[in-house]
């Protein structure tokens, strides 16, 4: 296969933001989560946990709680506002001031007709959910002290509210408080501190379960208002609770990074009285577990350590299947790096700024395994701070390194870069066509003469770029009538084709010469996570969230022979068992049969000329091949060349000089930048 010179880049200080809140929609199997920077993400649990949508955050928007009402997503935050999101255009749909000070919590009744929010001023406010918006209906009796957590009784008639030192039960109809449950404070020094009821859950049998800052999970009888049972689960806080749909299992997330499971079971075999019994403890986080979701089969948790963890409950899933494996989602499922292949430049996207780097150089040669002397160090050319409050949602660098563009939900900005080897100048392109207001994806043509920007309903705006002006050319529209946003866009090397993929799993290919839709690839059930058009054969290669790979001939408008062979034989089970999606795909101009792709843990070069591995083949065979004498290698090699030397990958790309760029961000580096957890295991104790 051969040698590669690899630029191993670790200077992208990407830092994911802490997970703040979570809501699981069991009907659509979508998990919505919010991060400390205000960003929202939607994961499709039915499609290999693919991160389907990202709504960028905004300065000053802190989402404290999330809530699904059927397919609609609402959030509330300490800025005192309620927001509904437009999941098709990936932006807030509207924002409504609640007039109650910071909002701590939001929750809907099970009928989906009303929302209740808990405010700093001690009010619980009820909003009616209307077709297009929500309308304030009334306040429940105002209390002294903030409302931290809320839970509707499934009947919709009662609401439990967690406060400081107590829980109140309201009649949702009359608005009067019917019970006051006093929550005991912690012992010792914390006796003087108010206890915060971080989370409550109101079950159909009128049991109320609370989690508080004294580390207790308490079970109350909501009819009589009496305490039934106290479980002390941590020395610190119980921050989140989540109940399974059948109300047989409950999760509690703590500041220690543990998730404690309780189950509603009889404590002895012959006894019929069930009670809430502490059963298991999961420790998958190093820091606070701030958000939890109890799906039918798994514990989903997230918090300060920024990773989303899906821990299947082994009694609910088949053992030793992919479904039963623990998943940690650490990186976004899309690329934050764009590579100026011709210029040897990298553009890093942070939520608040962009960094443009020029790679280093080495004139040395070495044998495999060597590190070459770096003649010229990499250099940060530009750090570009975004304008306005909205965070960056996408960015692109032209292959020649002469253009740079980024978009927020409110504007698109384009810059002209001039670099003569020592000085760089950046000029903002002043007059962009009015039609270009915001973009979900940006991409330059390979000759840097055009900018493609995807906007509403999967349409693509084409802008012609030249030294003197930039001109609106055309808008490409799919014929499917989809309303979903584009999340992948790829232009062919020869400037003939542009492919887009959206969250409806549709892939449209446009002819750039004719400026119209060329074809639509047959829709596959799993969302594409990476795609690219081959520079010479014009075959479109796609990889999907379920790890399937397809190759579609744009000329023939059918799947290629290789693709059919691959589907017929099936991918190797170890390939399918990987748990991070392929996020970038590119080709090797030197060898047209090579496809280069990567996920978080490996990059892979697929050689289409070699035989496909069958199920019995040793899949990860690089070590074996290395140990074999040269002539024997051919008989043992198969088409998947996998390299795991570089890890936690954010980008793998091939430069014009045929050297590889790998952008690594070791998870350990991210962990080391987190604040100290409440309890740290001391070295060797």
């Amino acid at each position: 296969m051969g040698e590669f010179k690899v630029h191993r880049v670790r200077f992208f200080d990407y830092m994911p933001s802490a997970i703040r809140a979570m809501a699981f929609n069991s009907r659509t199997e979508r998990l919505a989560l919010s991060r400390a920077d205000g960003a929202l993400e939607v994961f499709n649990f039915a499609d290999s946990y693919f991160q389907e949508k990202v709504i960028p955050g905004q300065d000053g928007r802190a989402v404290e709680a999330l809530c699904w009402v059927r397919g609609r997503l609402f959030s509330a935050g300490l800025n005192g506002e309620i927001t509904e999101y437009d999941l098709e255009n990936l932006r807030p749909k509207y924002t409504m001031e609640a007039y109650g000070g910071p909002v701590w919590t939001i929750c809907s009744n099970s009928q989906g007709t009303h929302l209740a929010i808990g405010c700093e001023d001690g009010t619980v406010k009820i909003f009616e959910v209307l077709e297009e918006t929500i309308r304030f209906q009334r306040n429940l009796d105002r209390q002294k002290g903030r409302i931290i957590s809320l839970s509707w009784h499934p009947s919709g008639a009662l609401i439990a509210a967690g406060m400081m030192d107590m829980i109140k039960v309201f009649n949702a109809e009359s608005g009067h408080a019917t019970h006051r449950l006093l929550v005991e404070r912690g012992v010792g020094a914390s006796k003087s501190r108010e206890v915060v009821v971080w989370s409550v859950a109101f079950l159909s049998d009128h049991t109320i379960i609370s989690g508080d800052s004294a580390g207790k999970v308490q079970v109350w009888d909501g009819v009589t208002g009496t305490l039934v049972r106290t479980h002390l689960v941590t020395k610190w806080d119980v921050l989140a609770l989540s109940v399974s749909r059948d109300e047989s299992s409950l999760l509690a997330g703590t500041s220690e990074g543990t998730v404690v499971q309780f189950q509603f079971i009889s404590s002895t075999v012959d006894q019929h009285d069930k009670e809430w019994v502490r059963t298991r403890t999961f420790k998958n986080h190093t820091h606070d577990v701030r958000a939890l979701a109890h799906t039918d089969t798994a514990v989903v948790s997230g918090g300060m350590d920024t990773q989303l963890v899906v821990r299947p409950l082994l009694e609910k899933v088949e053992k030793n299947t992919q479904e039963s494996a623990l998943r940690k989602i650490a990186f976004p499922h899309r690329s934050l790096v764009s590579c100026g292949k011709k210029a040897g430049m990298l553009l890093f996207q942070f939520h608040g700024h962009l960094e443009l780097w020029r790679l280093g150089e080495s004139d040395g040669h070495g044998k495999p395994g060597d590190s070459l002397p770096v003649k010229r160090k990499p250099e940060k050319l530009i750090q570009l701070k975004r304008k306005g409050d909205d965070h960056i949602c996408c960015s692109a660098l032209s292959p020649c390194g002469g253009w740079l563009a980024y978009s927020t939900i409110s504007s698109v900005r384009l810059y002209r870069l001039q670099y003569n080897g020592s000085n760089i100048s950046i000029t903002k392109v002043a007059k962009l066509p009015k039609v270009l207001r915001s973009a979900h994806q940006l991409c330059f043509s390979s000759d840097s003469s055009k900018l493609f920007a995807s906007t509403t309903h999967s349409s693509v705006i084409i802008i012609a770029l030249s030294q003197s002006e930039c001109k609106y050319l055309h808008t490409l529209r799919p014929k499917s009538g989809t309303r979903q946003p584009v999340h992948l866009m790829s232009a062919s090397e020869d400037g003939k084709w542009l492919a887009t993929a959206n969250s409806d799993c549709e892939i449209h290919v446009y002819s750039l010469h004719k400026l119209k839709l060329h074809c639509t690839v047959p829709v596959y059930s799993s969302c594409p996570t990476a795609m690219a058009i081959h520079p010479t054969t014009s075959n479109l290669v796609m990889v999907h969230a379920d790890q399937q790979i397809f190759e579609y001939s744009l000329v023939q408008k059918e799947y290629t022979e290789w693709s059919r062979k691959l589907q017929k034989q099936g991918l190797h089970h170890l390939w399918l068992a990987r748990d991070t999606p392929i996020t970038h795909l590119t080709f090797n101009p030197r060898n047209p049969a090579h496809i280069i792709m990567h996920d978080t843990y490996m990059f892979c070069i697929i050689d289409q000329n070699l035989p496909l591995p069958d199920q019995k083949t040793l899949f990860y065979n690089q070590m074996t091949l290395r140990s074999l004498p040269e002539p024997e290698r051919t008989s043992h090699s198969h088409s998947f060349k996998i390299c795991k030397t570089f890890q936690h990958l954010l980008c793998v790309s091939l430069l014009e000089d045929h050297s590889l760029v790998v952008v690594e961000r070791p998870l350990l580096d991210i962990a080391s930048q987190l604040p100290a957890p409440v309890r740290q295991k001391k070295f060797a104790t």
Binding site: F4, D370, K641, C643, A684
Partner: protein, 633 residues
């Protein structure tokens, strides 16, 4: 001392496809001590005359059939019994040439083994645990066979033993990682079921052997971690009722064989008699890795008695019939005669020379005339001894050295005027003497206050009895009480030098706690305090600097000192607590020990941490940026 003699090859091994299998299914004794029946793992049974290394007959089942249990010899009927394809029992005589024409009967359930011992009837053990006498089974071959074992329980090993005129079938089973032992009397249908204690998780016994002694059945079993356990089961144990819980089988650790790194793969331990165990597949404690030995261990004294290197692969199989060990190794089946004489400590330690050798020696040294030893003056004796000792073959003269020393000692005992300290010291120096050879020597030296000789004996004799050690100790302490030459230790305690010189040797002698303790109790409280003071002094010195090298004396190890402190406290704790003079000393000791314990617990932590460090792979430091060359294949 047990010995392994020169072995010889009985037959070559037909290697099965599976390399880990010797190709031999079983070896059974035949009509006398010189005949065995060897069953290979596929189709044939061969009768050998062992001393001639010659096959006398061979029988083979048809192609496509397999012998599933090793053939046994029924000494009553002079017939062989074997099982093919689990269900077909075959019986034939030596005259039968073609096995297929001989008697066969098909039974209704799979057979595990057929067992036969001289003096017993052949019994059939079924895979599901039922036991039948062969005769009664053959009278109605299709009779229903009950299931004794639980589901997922399977037999791993079985044997039969004759005890008190009754025959026992013993078999061991495994069920989900638990091991059980069954004792069954075929003609009584009484079953005893025991549960084996669990060893480390995941370890199953590698080999079993059973024997009958003193109204009990002795079981010996070896685990992959080298532990050999013995369990004793009464033959008159309680019969088991249906569904009764299996009784736990008490066991004691006979010894832990050194296994080196990792676990044993194929190994076997076989009890040869009450004190000797033959072990194969366990590394020889003093041989390098990669060599396989057949060893005989003495279980009473835990000493290695004999070892023989086995060339080629060891399969973990071992049989013993009439003082011969049968062991498949490499590509052959070897027969190794052995001998296990009644053991004594001296023999276990290798100090007893065989009588035969002594006899020969006597013949050689007829010139050792007893007259000299009895009557000659000191100088002449000295000259004589020097002459003897100047000989180059001094090691060969061991018996005569012993004799010489004995007679000199007895003369000295009888005649208070006669004493030859130099000569005796010279004899001791030859290292041909030990306490058992000349038991009065050390006591004589003590009596004559020849502390140098005492020290020498303590140093060079491997077998000083605890009583004598203690007597020396007492003498040293007593004389140091009288003399007032002292050294002052770091803490200002006053210690007599005499003791300082001689005590060291006492601390280094071999002893057993149980035997020493009663003698230690005879010390007076003053003596105990003094001794303890001395030990504390040593301990302090050891903990502070490298005391070991400073005095040119052989020094006891820290562990030896600690052992003595423990023993002394153990023997005299109440007395010490009641003695006001001891209070300061004990408090001091306690304080020091406490600080040491704290230190060691800290050291433990550091060790744990450093151990972790070692586990971490040395990772290449990766900076913010590098340009590397990789190769994909």
């Amino acid at each position: 001392m047990a010995a392994l003699y020169e072995g010889y090859t009985l037959c070559g091994l037909v290697q099965a496809q599976n390399q880990s299998d010797s190709g031999i299914q079983g070896i059974e004794s035949e009509r006398d001590s010189d005949h065995v029946v060897v069953t290979d793992s596929t189709r044939s049974v061969t009768l050998y005359k062992v001393s001639d290394q010659k096959p006398l007959g061979s029988w083979t089942v048809k192609q496509g059939q397999t012998l599933t249990c090793s053939a046994v010899y029924n000494s009553h009927t002079k017939e062989y019994v074997a099982v093919s394809d689990n269900k077909v029992i075959r019986v034939w005589k030596e005259e039968d040439i073609i096995l297929d024409k001989a008697f066969k009967a098909t039974v209704s359930s799979d057979v595990w083994r057929v067992h036969s011992v001289p003096g017993g009837e052949p019994v059939v053990l079924f895979q599901r645990g039922a036991v039948r006498l062969l005769d009664s089974l053959l009278s109605a071959p299709q009779q229903p066979v009950e299931e004794v074992l639980a589901q997922e329980e399977a037999i791993r090993w079985s044997t039969t033993v004759i005890a008190e005129a009754a025959q026992f079938v013993i078999f061991q089973t495994e069920q989900k990682g638990d091991h059980f032992l069954y004792l069954q009397r075929p003609n009584l249908n009484a079953v005893q079921r025991y549960r084996l204690e669990r060893e480390e998780p995941g370890l199953s016994p590698l080999s079993f052997s059973a024997s009958y002694r003193d109204k009990h059945i002795n079981l010996l079993y070896l685990y992959p971690n080298g532990h050999v356990y013995q369990s004793v089961v009464s033959v008159r144990g309680p019969g088991m009722e249906e569904e009764a819980q299996a009784l736990p089988l008490p066991r004691n650790l006979l010894f832990a064989l050194p296994v080196g790194e990792g676990l044993l793969g194929a190994a076997s331990a076989l009890a040869l008699d009450e004190a000797h165990v033959a072990v194969v597949g366990v590394p020889h404690p003093s041989a390098g890795a990669g060599k396989d030995f057949l060893c005989i261990w003495n279980t009473n004294f835990q000493t290695l008695q004999a070892g023989k290197e086995m060339s080629g692969k060891i399969y973990g199989q071992l049989w013993s019939y009439s003082s011969k060990l049968f062991i498949p190794h490499g590509k052959s089946l070897s027969v190794i005669p052995y001998e296990c004489p009644k053991s004594s400590l001296a023999s276990a330690l290798g100090k007893l020379r065989q009588a035969r050798t002594e006899g020969e020696m006597r013949k050689i040294h007829t010139n050792n005339n007893t007259e000299i030893k009895r009557t000659a003056p000191v100088e002449e004796v000295q000259r004589e001894v020097e002459g003897l000792l100047s000989r180059s073959d001094i090691q060969e003269l061991q018996p005569s050295v012993g004799q010489l020393a004995s007679s000199l000692v007895s003369r000295s005992v009888a005649d208070p005027a006669f004493y030859t300290p130099g000569t005796l010291a010279q004899l001791v120096h030859t290292q041909c003497l030990c306490h058992s050879v000349c038991p009065d020597l050390l006591l004589l030296a003590l009596e004559r206050k020849d502390y140098f000789l005492c020290q020498l004996c303590l140093q060079l004799f491997p077998d000083v009895p605890e009583a004598v050690t203690c007597a020396c100790l007492k003498t040293f302490i007593r004389c140091s009480e009288k003399l007032s030459i002292v050294v002052v230790d770091a803490q200002g305690a006053v210690l007599p030098t005499v003791f300082f010189q001689h005590g060291l040797e006492v601390l280094q002698t071999a002893y057993s706690d149980t035997f020493l303790l009663p003698h230690l109790k005879d010390l007076s409280s003053q003596q105990v305090i003094l001794f303890l003071q001395y030990l504390q002094f040593l301990y302090l010195r050891y903990s502070q600097d490298t005391f070991t090298q400073t005095h040119g004396l052989r020094s006891p190890t820290l562990t030896q000192i600690m052992d003595w402190v423990c023993l002394l406290l153990d023997a005299h704790f109440t007395v010490l607590v009641m003695t006001p003079e001891a209070k300061g000393l004990l408090l001091n000791l306690h304080r020091f020990v406490k600080s040491q314990v704290r230190l060691f617990s800290e050291l433990g932590k550091i060790e744990g941490s450093l151990e972790e460090l070692q586990k971490i792979k040395v990772k290449k430091e990766v900076g913010q940026y590098s340009i590397e060359v990789i190769e994909l294949f």
